[in-house]
Symmetry: C2
Subunit: 96 residues, 2 copies
């Protein structure tokens, strides 16, 4: 069973994820990514899909042309967990 | 320049797209697709992405695990156009 992060754990994790915003209503983290065009945006989505499938941890996400918005939370934990932090780090690794 | 469909053209087009809903606020059409799992959902998204890129007409869409929601409208036309109807037909063709 994956456990929801405590407030202290969450604060520490968010310190290390400067590009992500905390969504209090969902106990989730979100980040928007902007690319040159749809082709680049979908290439990024494909890489995220592979990460997600490998980790068996899937994002809620949307795309409009060159823009991709990602929300991470852990349904089984009822909110943000360490798995979301790991996934956010891995996604950041794709665009650094 | 792509032209927005007239009310009569829209009504006729929607008659042929029984699985799509009309979103009046956006002058758009929407459809939700449910698959067995994320892998199948993303495989479908990849096929839609190829259609979209080929037609240079891109959806607004979101995905949560096995569910994909697609909205089609034509920004350049200020609402629904024949390009959306063609794209909806092509997307339907992927799942029939």
């Amino acid at each position: 069973m994956v456990e929801q992060l405590s407030e202290a754990e969450r604060a520490e994790a968010l310190d290390g994820l400067s590009d992500w915003d905390y969504d209090e209503a969902r106990d989730a983290i979100t980040r928007a990514f902007v690319f040159a065009d749809f082709s680049e945006a979908f290439a990024f989505m494909t890489r995220v899909a592979l990460l997600a499938e490998k980790a068996d941890h899937h994002p809620e996400w949307s795309n409009v042309y060159n823009r991709v918005e990602i929300l991470l939370t852990t349904h089984d934990a009822g909110g943000l967990s360490g798995r979301d932090i790991e996934m956010a780090d891995a996604i950041d690794g794709l665009v650094e």
